[in-house]
């Protein structure tokens, strides 16, 4: 076991928790949080893959690292957009929820199947 494997496993677990939160939590803001956790778990998997491929005097393979930087910025943009949507929804309806039509609360349950 080394640092790469350790943080890779940590990332895998975070993906699991993030996915669970994204699917089961009914509050949109908590879903956004869970998405961020899921994303960072995925990035850690990239990090583990980069670290274990260390060569040529570098501490890690720079290609996955560059990809993670790109992906972090994209995830931030996604978060900003999701939060703006949640807040606008709050303004329009006084509520922030995905379920206006009964079964909507479970509408994202399909997300895991």
């Amino acid at each position: 076991m080394n640092a790469a494997t350790l943080f890779g496993l940590c990332g895998a677990a975070l993906v699991g928790f993030g996915l669970y939160g994204l699917v089961t939590n009914p509050e949109p803001l908590r879903k956004v949080l869970a998405f961020n956790l899921l994303g960072s778990g995925v990035f850690l998997v990239f990090g583990a893959i980069s670290k274990r491929a260390a060569a040529a005097g570098l501490g890690g393979d720079p290609v996955p690292q560059a990809m993670v930087i790109t992906a972090i910025v994209v995830a931030f943009a996604a978060t900003a957009m999701a939060i703006a949507l949640v807040l606008r929804l709050l303004e329009e309806t006084g509520r922030a929820t995905l379920s206006s039509d009964g079964p909507g609360g479970t509408s994202t349950d399909g997300g895991n199947s």
């Binding site: 949109p28 999701a82 509408s107 399909g110």
Partner: protein, 510 residues
């Protein structure tokens, strides 16, 4: 011969066109932002003929030569750099999407006119920029040769599509947009984790290099599964379709047309790239049957729910859920049990033709529905009586779109379903043939439901809320005709789908 395929990639003549297909929309987006909303429609008007031209030239090139066009970005060959590649599939899809985008652009002039505006206004500005961005993202998806570049393109597509859903700012559409965004983000993050695993195993994300290095092992299987599930969520394949109907039905007509006809094809195309090109021998018989079963379930479920709709736009949206199902039937049908590989034979051609005919037909139908809504002030199916007399061209366009969805000759839908049926018969998988025939019956059912109401003469003359411009009707009709006539490719470039595809060579040398 294997030796020929080991040669490193190099930029081919005409490869510059691939760069152009991506740079043109990107430049237009940047220009639109810099110059502001009043110029944006003009920019789009300049871009559209250019983009259409580029798409046609690429198509002609690929068709004539039967070879893949390649461009090595920055002169760095994969695995270090990124390659753009256009094979028959990309060329055909590019032309289709270009036609649809141009028709939508013509159609949208009425609703999102910016030329006469004194100041920049929100909805038109956002609409045009996002339309251009969707086009660029789709071209990137068709041409991208690297799975991570394709991830960025997917995100580009998502961020361009979501704002279109809630362009009118009503609470329902905001909710639909939020749900769509969450599904899309889930989809792309699952895709991303798959690319991480593939890179970890093979040290490249280039599709051609991957296809040579890939072999069955746990990490590959996990990667492929996660990526596929993520892309299914973005394509709205049953049972991950829940976001689609409210999102597509609630958007303005021009936006619905783009979302339903164009955007879902992006993630579908990636599924095809992944399984047919990156890992042709990995799917396995069970996997192919499973994907087919999801497709079949989508056809049955989408059609049945469509039959029960009271609103025209929702009916069309559920019809999209069903038609997406057809796209995935090609996986079991393209599976060759002897070589245990997906093969680019008739089933692939059929599936891609289905995507093309659906893109054109569905865009036409959403445009027609939008015009009907504008004219009547509602889209309740039960109260459509008399609309056929008031807007004959529109209803005709809607009906022609339906003809293609049902799969009547000579439409593209007919040729697609015929090729798929043929593959089902040849491979002895009669159950998929049953599903397709049942789906055709269902489709006729809901088309009949709408048309029978629309063709009933009204008791009193209809009072139309607005005069619908002829060019909008013409745009819808053009797309419907395109869908109808796309079946005629059987006489011409139907073999273009096989152009530049490596499997064709491998099968030949076997």
């Amino acid at each position: 011969m294997p030796d020929a395929t080991v040669l490193p990639d190099a930029t081919t003549a005409g490869g510059v066109l691939l760069v152009l297909a991506i740079v043109l929309p990107v430049t237009s987006v940047l220009l639109s932002l810099a110059l502001g909303g009043r110029q944006v429609e003009r920019i789009a008007c300049v871009l559209m003929p250019c983009g259409l031209g580029v798409a046609f030239i690429i198509f002609a090139d690929v068709w004539r030569s039967g070879e893949r066009l390649t461009y090595i970005v920055g002169d760095w060959t994969p695995p270090l750099g990124i390659a753009l590649r256009a094979d028959g599939l990309s060329a055909a899809m590019m032309v289709t999407i270009a036609i649809v985008v141009c028709a939508v652009g013509a159609f949208a002039h009425a609703d999102f006119n910016t030329r006469a505006a004194a100041v920049e206004t929100r909805a038109p500005f956002v609409f045009w920029v996002m339309l251009i961005a969707i086009w660029g993202a789709m071209n990137m998806i068709f041409l991208g040769g690297d799975l991570f570049t394709l991830y960025v393109a997917l995100e580009l597509l998502t961020f361009a599509a979501v704002p279109l859903v809630c362009l009118d700012g009503r609470a329902e559409t905001l909710q639909a947009a939020l749900r769509y965004l969450l599904f899309a983000l889930l989809g792309s993050i699952l895709y991303l984790v798959g690319t991480a695993l593939l890179y970890g195993s093979y040290g490249t994300l280039d599709i051609v290099l991957l296809s040579r290095r890939i072999h069955l092992e746990p990490a590959t299987l996990a990667a492929a599964t996660l990526m596929t599930v993520g892309l299914f969520a973005k394509t709205a394949l049953f049972p991950l379709h829940l976001w689609l109907p409210p999102a597509h039905a609630g958007a303005p007509a021009a936006a619905s047309a783009v979302l339903s006809a164009v955007v879902v094809k992006g993630s579908f195309f990636l599924v095809v790239r992944l399984w047919f090109d990156a890992m042709p021998g990995t799917l396995g018989s069970a996997g192919a049957q499973l994907i087919g079963a999801l497709g079949a379930a989508a056809i049955v479920f989408g059609s049945v729910v469509a039959l029960r709709q009271q609103r025209l736009k929702l009916l069309i949206a559920y019809s999209t859920v069903a038609q997406i199902g057809y796209l995935f039937l090609m996986f079991p049908l393209a599976f060759d049990t002897v070589s245990a590989q997906l093969q680019s034979a008739g089933a692939l051609t059929g599936g891609m033709l289905q995507a093309i005919s659906h893109a054109t037909a569905k865009a036409a139908m959403f445009m027609a529905a939008g015009l009907i809504y504008a004219a009547l002030g509602h889209d309740r199916i039960a109260e459509l009586g008399g609309i056929a007399q008031a807007l004959p061209m529109t209803v005709f366009a809607f009906a022609l779109g339906g003809v293609s969805l049902i799969g009547l000759p000579p439409s593209g839908g007919f040729l697609a379903k015929w090729l798929l049926l043929e593959a089902a018969v040849v491979t002895g998988q009669w159950w998929w043939a049953m599903v397709m025939l049942a789906g055709g019956l269902f489709t006729s059912g809901y088309m009949f439901m709408v048309l029978s109401r629309a063709l009933v003469p009204a008791h009193e003359p209809l009072k139309l809320k607005t005069i619908v411009p002829r060019y909008q009707q013409a745009a819808a009709l053009t797309l419907a005709l395109a869908s109808l006539l796309s079946g005629l490719v059987a006489l011409g470039p139907v073999d273009v789908f096989q152009a530049g595809r490596p499997e064709a060579m491998m099968v030949g040398s076997r």
